[in-house]
């Protein structure tokens, strides 16, 4: 049985992990390689390094951070933020990324999806979509959620899959940082419309939010950031909770002690 994946996102700026509320008000949360190592021990299934300021400040993803993390953990590693062209993707993959996440650049240059899929395989290409509820639709925002577009998230996800994307990383801007739960309606709308895995992101606050997104939301994977940063054993205890609720997950030996109570903060 294929497990539902739990993915930890490391939002990185200047080599350190930070996490914002609605993309603003950042606070320091640790060293990327240290955090990734801890997550691996706790049984995380995958790690995403997101260079959160790259698009805005026109910087490449941090090769040093990627290398430091890739040296320590042997899990799928995705890098996003500032991947604007083939050369940025190449730099991230050379540094140790298995997958690259493209967002703004994919929307403005959709052929980039196909170019990268042909060169590295579809499994290496994640199209990240930031969506916000507006006028009864899910509209896409770009440039780290700061700039609205007229594009529809479901239609764009289908186009991205057609063009060769291997997975969709779907973030609800409305829910991100709120701890009020994933946007299950958004996730289900996209997941049921595409043949590729959908990673739900934005809004995780309790263990039951993950249960909801894997059932009602039809997510293949769920991503969170800060809830894992500040609570030891959260990953293992989350997985135990999911398994108890009938969600297939990968349980590793020797992780977690059952100390978390489901309220992650």
């Amino acid at each position: 049985m294929l497990s539902k994946r739990i993915i930890a996102c490391l939002d990185v700026r200047d080599g350190a992990v930070v996490k914002g509320i609605n993309f603003e008000g950042l606070r320091h949360a640790g060293d990327p390689a240290e955090l990734a190592t801890r997550y691996n021990r706790e049984g995380i299934d995958e790690v995403v390094i997101l260079d959160i300021t790259a698009t805005i400040e026109q910087r490449k993803a941090l090769a040093d951070t990627i290398q430091a993390v890739a040296r320590e953990i042997f899990l799928p590693l995705c890098v996003g933020g500032g991947i604007r062209g083939e050369e940025h993707a190449e730099a991230a993959i050379e540094a140790g990324a298995d997958k690259v996440g493209i967002n703004t650049a994919a929307l403005s240059h959709p052929t980039l999806i196909t170019t990268l899929a042909k060169r590295y395989g579809s499994q290496a290409v994640i199209v990240a979509i930031d969506a916000k509820r507006e006028d009864g639709r899910f509209k896409i925002y770009v440039r780290s959620g700061q700039q609205g577009t007229e594009r529809d998230a479901v239609e764009w996800a289908q186009e991205a899959a057609d063009r060769g994307a291997g997975e969709i990383l779907l973030t609800s801007i409305d829910q991100d940082g709120t701890k009020a739960g994933f946007d299950c309606e958004l996730t289900a709308a996209v997941s049921s419309a595409v043949p590729i895995p959908v990673i739900a992101s934005g809004g995780a606050g309790t263990f039951d939010h993950f249960v909801d997104v894997f059932t009602t939301g039809q997510a293949d994977a769920a991503l969170a950031a800060s809830i894992f940063h500040y609570s030891e054993h959260a990953v293992a205890d989350l997985k135990t909770h999911l398994r108890t609720n009938g969600i297939p997950v990968r349980i590793t030996e020797g992780s977690g002690n059952g100390a978390s109570d489901g309220n992650l903060l």
């Binding site: 140790g96 291997g166 590729i196």
Partner: protein, 215 residues
Amino acid sequence: MIALIDYGAGNLTSVRKALAHLDAPTTTPTAPADLDSADGLIVPGVGNFEVTAALGVDWRSAIERHIARQRPLLGICVGMQWLFDGSTEAPGHPGLQMMRGTCTVITDKEDATPAVSSGPSDRVGGRLKVPHVGWNTLRATKPSWLLDGIPERGQVYFTHSFAAPVTDDCVGATRYGMEFAAAVERGLVGGVQFHPEKSSDVGLRILRNFLRKAL
């Protein structure tokens, strides 16, 4: 010395890093003759079966010499599929034909209307997504040097759309829509459909088993 075959499409970085973590010396041969001094051979791979066409007859001969010298080989992902007769993904490109069978696209062979009581399904919203991406259970089906010491319900990381059939060479099987060979072995020729270099402790154990045969 472990030789990592580079046919221009697979990303070798991850495999190289995992082997470095296990203190194994690696090299990336630039000519087929370089294989003659290798203790072990790893054929990594991602993407389309067609990429294996980059390895022409000279490379194939060198790999066959390596096997004839009783040295181990490990194919990963497309590198494992390449050990078979071929794949319907690229019908014009024969495999190494060290193992019988043809790789095919993953299809949903589960009961079309499973009873609710049959438990959770791999289907999302009523259908099976392909590619098969993520962690799945590796069920050992035979004693094997490659899978020695891995936990009974150990999970490993997959990302693929095509898969090899379960034959006599299969030592570990996985189910996703259908049952397929996740690990194969014939003498010192081994292959894994999943990515041991991305499968945390279970994957490192499998790479260590290979290194023990090679070094």
